[in-house]
Amino acid sequence: MTAWEKLRPYGMVAPSIIIFSMFFIYPIFYMIYLSFYDWNFVSPDKTFVGLQNFKDLLTDEDFRQVLSNTTLYTLMTVALTTGLSLFLALWLNRKGVFHAFVQGAIFSPHIISLVSISLLWSWLMDPEYGLLNWVIGLFGFEKMQWLSHPETSLVSLVIVAVWKGIGYNTLVFIAGLQSIPADIYEAAALDQSKPWTTFRRIILPMLSPTIFFLVIINMIGSFQVFETIAIMTQGGPVNSTNTLVYYIYENGFRFFKIGYASAAGVILLAIVGLLTIVYFRLLSSRVHYR
């Protein structure tokens, strides 16, 4: 091998590795470093404060609210999205133009900018003139406040997230269903398995890798929710929709509490990291049926 041949692979990966190191790996460490300092971005000096930022965070009533909002939002979004999309997948898993059209329709929100979706749903959920109140009126319900009331605001955001995410999840489930070989269904039919038994004993176990994948992806995604909150509620009313990333954003860019925001970032990093590790653990230890 010539020297050129030895160096070639390094040259080929270098640009990517440099970019990743600069904009993903290094920032992680920089953020951890900043979380130990008190700094307002403008002043030239940073003051080392040790774990003070973390102590402040954990005693801050607002931050606790933020953590509980984020967790609640995540649990609701993930449970609803995964459950409903599994149901839709079983229903829509057919070939044919009409089914392709239906699949396309429910998928369409996934490729639309979150800005559009947030604006559109703000209007749909308008307490006075919104279409949503008209629709629930058809079923005999009273007008609701949706985003404008602390009791319904978080659930309203969950509805938007589910509406946007369900199509993607359904199609991933359909892909998973289609990768189950047809002869297994045929064998089950010959064994006189009832539909529910087939679902519980065959489909569900064989889909479990897909379910894992979606649950974790949805969880990681939901923990970082930002756009809908920034555009639709700005964390309100009365902090009822303030979540982690929005909280970090506000503290960093509105209040210039860089160290404090970084500490919150480190906590988010820990949560996302933990979820990722859990995912890979489960992925490698999980029985593979194929």
């Binding site: 070639r8 692979p9 990966v13 640009p15 990517s16 590795i17 970019i19 990743f20 190191s21 904009f23 993903f24 790996i25 290094y26 920032p27 920089y30 953020m31 839709l88 829509l92 009409f98 392709a100 239906v102 396309g104 329709a105 429910i106 998928f107 369409s108 490729i111 639309i112 900018s113 800005v115 559009s116 604006l119 559109l120 209007w123 749909l124 006075e128 003139y129 279409l131 008209w134 009126g137 509406w163 993607y168 199609l171 892909a175 897909t210 994948f213 992806i217 970082q224 756009e227 920034a230 555009i231 990333v245 954003y249 960093g252 925001a261 970084s262 970032g265 988010l268 996302v272 990722t276």
Partner: protein, 270 residues
């Protein structure tokens, strides 16, 4: 038979849940302001008000936003093509010391979302004087861990025999990559390109954080700003602006639905 009719009706209802909001957006965008303030709402505006679009366009430098969006999304795409292809090929086909460690860097990057590190990256770009520039919006995404991962899989699936055949045909390594391997993974490349373009065209978060003035602001920011400029209540203008943002993507989706769905679904599954 009755069951089948019921099934189709339910399916249509399902479609309605997803199509109605878009229809509502279109309808609102053509209404006069008083028309938006009627309850129960009217579906068809008496006289379509096309001026809403002009008004939305005038709330900010929209041509500039549009160009910025285009430059950033295409710029990212070009940079990614140049960085991802060689990296993915090297990881897929060469054995070299430290390749596992370097691929580890890729995998870790794959796990880090932009929402996690925007604060330190903001400080970094600010130090590099790259805030409010196209370059600042492009550079952090000039390579993609996801793209490398995806393309590496593609390269690994090419049978070794093909490369050997090319070697016996006296093809140089460069020629093997450009003439043989890259055409072979074209479907994966198209998939990733669609995915990347749509993601960055739609992106709101990153440009929001990394710009403080109009020089490099993109379309989603411009649309979101209509609300601030016009005040809360002018839903007709807002929906008109919103339609400007959504239309290109929806049209593209209408024409290449199969491709786009595959791009998003299968790139996630595999």
């Amino acid at each position: 038979m009755a069951l089948r009719v019921l099934n189709v009706l339910c399916l249509l209802l399902l479609v309605l849940v997803f199509a109605m909001p878009f229809g509502w957006m279109l309808s609102t965008s053509l209404k006069t302001l008083p028309e938006t303030m009627i309850f129960p709402p009217a579906w068809i505006p008496k006289q379509p008000v096309w001026e809403n679009y002009a008004e939305a366009w005038k709330t900010g430098p929209f041509l500039k936003y549009f160009m910025n969006s285009f430059i950033v999304a295409i710029g990212i795409l070009i940079c990614q093509a140049l960085t991802i292809i060689p990296a993915a090929y090297a990881f897929a086909r060469y054995k070299f010391a430290g390749s596992n460690l370097l691929f580890g860097v890729v995998m870790v990057t794959l796990m880090i979302p932009a929402q996690l590190i925007f604060l330190p990256v903001y400080l970094e770009l600010s130090a590099l004087k790259l805030l409010n520039t196209h370059l600042g919006l492009i550079l952090p995404f000039a390579s993609s861990a996801f793209g490398i991962f995806l393309l590496r899989q593609g390269f690994m699936q090419v049978p070794e025999e093909l490369i050997e055949a090319a070697r016996l045909d006296q093809a140089s390594e460069w020629k093997i990559i450009v003439r043989l391997m890259v055409p072979l993974v074209k479907p994966v490349l198209v998939t990733f390109a669609l995915f990347s373009f749509i993601a960055h065209w739609n992106d709101y978060f990153w440009p929001l954080v990394m710009t403080t003035n109009e020089t490099a602001r993109t379309l989603p920011l411009g649309i979101a700003k209509i609300r601030e400029v016009e005040g809360v209540a002018t839903w007709n203008v807002l929906m008109a602006g919103n339609l400007i943002l959504v239309a290109p993507i929806l049209v593209a989706f209408f024409f290449s639905q199969r491709h786009i769905i595959r791009a998003f679904v299968y790139s996630g599954v595999k």
